[in-house]
Amino acid sequence: MSSERGPVFLERRTYRRRRMADAARLLPILGAALFGLPLLWGIEGEATPTTRVMFYIFSTWLVLTVLTAVISRYLRQEKQDPPDTGEW
């Protein structure tokens, strides 16, 4: 937002951080969509087995967890963030 220019590698890092924040925002939406997906499965009048859905749900869960872990590594608090209140 500010027009000041820093060294190239720093800008890259800020850029990366911004995009990771975008990803962090999108992730729950993706998760909701993925978790809702099995509702559309029951085709041809035949019921889907619970075990299959269970596998799907738990693997999705695992993938989302790992993704969050990776993304949140990039979202470490910046040094120039405003200090906490009550600093005395």
Partner: protein, 898 residues
Amino acid sequence: MATLNVLVLVCFLYVTFLFAIAFGADRAARRGRGTWLRSPVVYTLSLSIYCTAWTFYGAVGFAARSGLEFVTIYLGPTLVMIGWWWTLRKMVRVGRSQRITSVADLISSRYGKSNLLAVFVTVLAVIGTTPYIALQLQSVTLSFATFAANEPTGTELPSQQSIALWVALGLAVFTILFGTRNLDANERHHGVVMAIALEAVVKLFALLAVGVFVVWGLAGGIGETLARIDASPIAAWEVSGSRWVGLTMLSAAAFLCLPRMFQVMVVENEDEGHLRTASWAFPAYLMLMSLFVLPIAAVGLDVLPEGANPDLFVLTLPLQEGRDGLAILSFIGGFSSATSMVIVAAIALSTMVSNHVVMPVWLWITGGSAVMSGDLRNVALLARRISIAGIVLLGYLYFHMSGGGTALAEIGLVSFAGVAQFLPALMGGLFWRAANHTGALAGLATGFAVWMYCLFLPSFGPSSALPQAVLDHGLFGLHWLRPQALFGTEGMDPLVHAVMWSMSLNTIVFVTVSIISFPRPVERLQGAQFVNVFEHSGNTAGWTGGLAQSEDLLIMSQRIIGAPQAQALFATAATRQGLAGYLPEPSPDFLQELERELSGSVGAATAHAMISQIVGGATVSVEDLMAVADETAQIMEYSSRLEAKTEEQERTARQLREANQKLTQLSVQKDAFLSQISHELRTPMTSIRAFSEILRDTRGLKAAEKSKYAAIIHDETVRLTRLLDDLLDLSVLENGQVVLNSQTGHLDALLDRAIAASGLDKRTFRIERDRLAEDVMLTTDLDRLAQVFINLISNARKYCDSASPVLKIAPKRQNDRLLIDFIDNGSGIPTDHQSMIFEKFSRIGETKAGGAGLGLAICREIMARLGGDISYLPGQSGAAFRVTLPQSPDTAGSTASA
């Protein structure tokens, strides 16, 4: 019988262990050790109070009844945690920057610090949580009864009610012990959090152990287990879409709004960075918790006899197979889930009840004045303790009345739906600046009413709380008002129906009323603060105070956050403003900081009210409001910077004036001293001359007369010498030429000596001492210190103008310093003289006691040489002096053992 006995023993040992852990953690935190207490792992584990006994036992039951649907209860929170960048991050930041103590406090603080709103949220939370606490008690008693039923000679069994009562009692005691140690609800409860983290590990381990046993021990491997699931009644995926989506959304909403979740997530949060870890670690925890639920349910349905309660499969499966050890572990897991939920819920609710209901009522009853005698802290702590007991008791009563029947099983989701009503006000408050007080109140009331009517009352079963006629034909016979088919929406699942209508009506009313009505200035400022919390961290503005109010503020704060904390806060603020002593300028910054500090103890609404009582109301100026509006933000920022500068200059000018005044006063004092000292020197000189002339010139004096005159001459010489000694002493001290003679001795012996030497008549002047606190070893120049004590005591003797004078000597330790307060009950020293008394030659008014005004100046110099300090302590019952001494670690150790 053996197993039951073992169970009771293990249970007892486990509880003792929890007490020990909590105690140890509290102790470590108090001593500043234990960085591990503040690790993100502990934070993540503490979040697991989401998994109560209802999820520990009930999830399997839920799965046995409706298959995979149970998982929605965990998917909602998972989505919230994954989406922490949206909401949780903001909630935690707001919670920390505004020193929020509860959900009720957050909502009330956001909407103009309205106590009405806080009370409303509190009542709702209590109604929503009580059945849930009852549910926890029920689960413990049920699991206990399961064990007892398995016993061949299960005759000597205590009744379910009495078990529940004992559990409730134990929980209340634990919570009171570790949950109300310090008044500042915003401070961390390290002991409680640590115990909960431990319980989180235990319950996860227990459930995993049962799961592993069921899959590999009973079913015989993963493939076999899957085959069993496929053969069970829950083999087909037949979930209704509305319930799937509805329950996920409901649990997500509840996760954000539950008072106990708010407590661990926001209030107990130590570091915003912990959220980063929790964002993935907590979903992983939830996933592990639910991993074995379906296998356990399927195998239980297969193995256990028809009609066995699926809610207890986790327990009955190991028991049936004769695995008593595993069964006990599973019991402990369920026990952990139940107790941790009750403990945190009781802390969270008691903070709300005492801050928003009890304290305001108490203040109102006692005249509503913030400045009066008595320590408010004890009242607040007592209120919190009674609230805890009351809340747990309420849960027990609910359990008792409902008879622990199956009606309770459904209550988990009902309770979720109740607290989810906070969501629109909460999210609106965080993301929408135009959301206002009236809207929030109207939305909450609507949602709450719909929830009551559609879900809560019908949950007691047909024709118990709501007549059957109302259920069938609607209120007043209006068909479209049927509680389970509002506006003709028939055939819906009752829960989804109620959630949908209550949440959507709540939101619609909230938004509409917010748009129509107009917010008060404080609300608009708070709104900008909350919504834009990341842009500018904290500047509520609006307080402007006069000079005379600092002492009143100090008196009030001492009663709320305790004397040492308040004094430290005021002293730091004063130092920052470049002033000495305990009374800072009541600048807007300082008042705001003070209000935050107080709101950590009594909630935002009360703190705001109390300060405005003293300072005279918040002045939200037109400029402040314009600053809120974005379009003029830049111009306003410039002018407000100018304004700040002007204010700064004004303050500097005031400080300069003060310094000038002090200098003038000093010069006057010096002149006065010169005449005083010549007078002091001349009076004895005159009498010495006169009497020596008599001795020289008069003949025929009797021996008695001669010795009398000689005695007078001697006395006067002594007086002269003393005066000169004092002057010399002072000049030596001031030049730093003094040699200190370090010795070690007891404080009480030193005080005894000082009191004896000050020539006090104990019949007319009472001295209150605290022998226990005086049992401190000192290593310093004891003679010099005694000189200070003697001076203070004889000052009290000379100047205390009370009819029955009392001097209180109160030593206490604070960090690595020893504070000794000398407080008398006289009229004290007027504020305008307080800054002068330590100056040389200063004497207040025309004193009858006739000292040269050097005593306190000498004291100050001595204390400075000893590495300590002496200062005047305002806001006490009379004149009060505080002697501060540094304490080396080895002497501190002997204090602790004393």
